[in-house]
């Protein structure tokens, strides 16, 4: 049987048969991969907790006829450990995993930038230095940017007119100027747009000092914007809890 080696983050696990699981991973070189872990649900499994969601693992995978099979797995970093005991962080992290899965629609299509973004996002979430919802929103915005859907925040999404426009039009792709403005669209606070820009750039100094109401408005816009591009809402997003 052919074999390959890669590292990846466990996105999701599904029970299979008596004691197996199908493990979905976002890998560094092979994009999103689904592979079977045999016997992983038994308490004496050699895999232990290494194939739990959020774990960064080094893997040996056998190419199977229908599904690949995981031969060996070594932990690089168990990001889940910091999350199981912190419900808001756990739910924010799960929304990150689901987003990474949804944005890598085609299996085994390499997506290095999405992988690096996820590793960075989980690391930031786990170290506990920022509000988990901010970490999630930063991840969602940057993931959309990597997928080619960065919202226009410093110019009009339609005509490119630079400046800080007031209207956020999701179908148009971000802020729009007074001339391009469609009817019935949101006009978020200046500070909310500022927060979105900070999150997209990774400017934590600005993000960390933002006010609660602007964080909430930002989360709402990001969620709607994400849903528009994914064409479905994320299942886990409605379960994300604010710390």
């Amino acid at each position: 049987m052919k074999l390959y080696r890669d590292e990846g983050i466990v996105l999701r696990t599904q029970k299979l048969g008596e004691a197996d699981r199908i493990i979905s991973l976002l890998t560094r070189r092979n994009g999103r991969v689904r592979a079977v872990a045999k016997g992983v649900r038994r308490t004496k499994s050699r895999f232990g907790a290494r194939l739990e969601p959020f774990t960064h693992v080094d893997l040996q995978i056998h190419i199977g006829r229908s599904l690949d099979v995981i031969g060996q797995a070594e932990t690089i970093r168990p990001y889940g450990e910091a999350l199981g005991g912190d419900y808001p962080r756990y739910t924010a992290g799960t929304a990150m995993l689901e987003t990474a899965e949804r944005l890598t629609a085609v299996e085994k299509e390499p997506s290095l930038r999405q992988f690096l973004l996820l590793v960075g996002g989980l690391r930031t979430l786990g170290d506990g230095s920022h509000d988990p919802r901010l970490v999630l929103d930063a991840f969602l915005l940057r993931s959309l940017a990597v997928a080619g859907y960065a919202p226009a925040l410093t110019e009009c999404a339609r005509c490119g007119d630079p400046g800080s426009h007031r209207t956020f039009a999701i179908p148009s792709g971000g802020l729009v100027c007074a001339n391009c403005r469609p009817t019935g669209v949101a006009t978020p606070a200046h500070e909310t747009i500022g927060l979105m820009i900070a999150l997209l750039r990774g400017d934590w100094e600005v993000a960390d000092t933002s006010e609660h109401r602007h964080r909430q408005e930002c989360s709402g816009l990001v969620a709607k914007y994400l849903q528009w591009h994914l064409e479905h809402s994320l299942r886990s997003l409605r379960l994300v809890e604010r710390a």
Partner: protein, 199 residues
């Protein structure tokens, strides 16, 4: 594709957990070739289980009456409730003979990626049971994996205002697995050495 009734059977079998289309086909043809009396027994076992077995109105365990065997037993300690994900976890814990309280079966674990939140589990029913102040200890025996851990964390935080003793099955249970696969000795030990959860 086979003719009507055979394909129906294959489709129905294929909807069972862990049975793929190939296994479904194999089982279907096994049943076709089997002794009619054997098949009759299987079919009446299926009908009977759906007619007679339901879920305990108190704890959510499988029951043949309004209440399950554990809830009907007057010798069980009413002050301790052990929270598990599935009825099969009740069976695993009963085998250890370590636990003399009653159970609460959630019907799964919180799994945001599958869209399963606290409202989709029997969490509200648990809070109702805890309301009268009779229960003093809550043991959180959800699976020793991440979803089980996160579910325990959520519940511990939810019941915190009630001031109960909240414990979690202790070390010795290897993480990553399902509770039902833990052997009796390990599970028994995990019960004895349960640790206080402080959130």
């Amino acid at each position: 594709m086979y003719e009507g009734v055979v394909q129906n059977l294959i489709d129905e079998l294929g909807r069972l957990p862990g049975i793929g289309p190939k296994s479904a086909q194999r089982i279907a043809f096994h049943l076709l070739a089997a002794d009619p009396a054997d098949v009759k027994r299987l079919s009446s076992a299926l009908t009977e289980v759906k007619e007679r077995v339901r879920f305990c109105s108190v704890c959510g365990n499988v029951a043949e009456d309004e209440e399950c065997r554990v809830c009907r037993d007057p010798r069980r300690d009413l002050a301790i409730i052990c929270v598990v994900e599935e009825p099969k976890d009740v069976v695993a814990i009963e085998k250890t003979r370590e636990f003399r309280g009653r159970y609460h079966v959630l019907g799964g674990a919180i799994s945001p990626i599958e869209g399963i939140g606290p409202d989709d589990l029997r969490v509200r029913e648990l809070m109702t049971r805890l309301a009268d102040g009779q229960v003093t200890e809550l043991i959180l025996a959800t699976d020793p994996n991440l979803e089980g851990e996160a579910t325990a964390t959520y519940l511990a935080r939810l019941v915190k205002p009630l001031g109960l003793r909240v414990t979690r099955l202790a070390s010795g249970l290897p993480v990553g697995g399902d509770l039902e696969y833990a052997d009796e000795v390990t599970l028994g030990r995990a019960f004895e050495g349960r640790r206080l959860l402080d959130v």
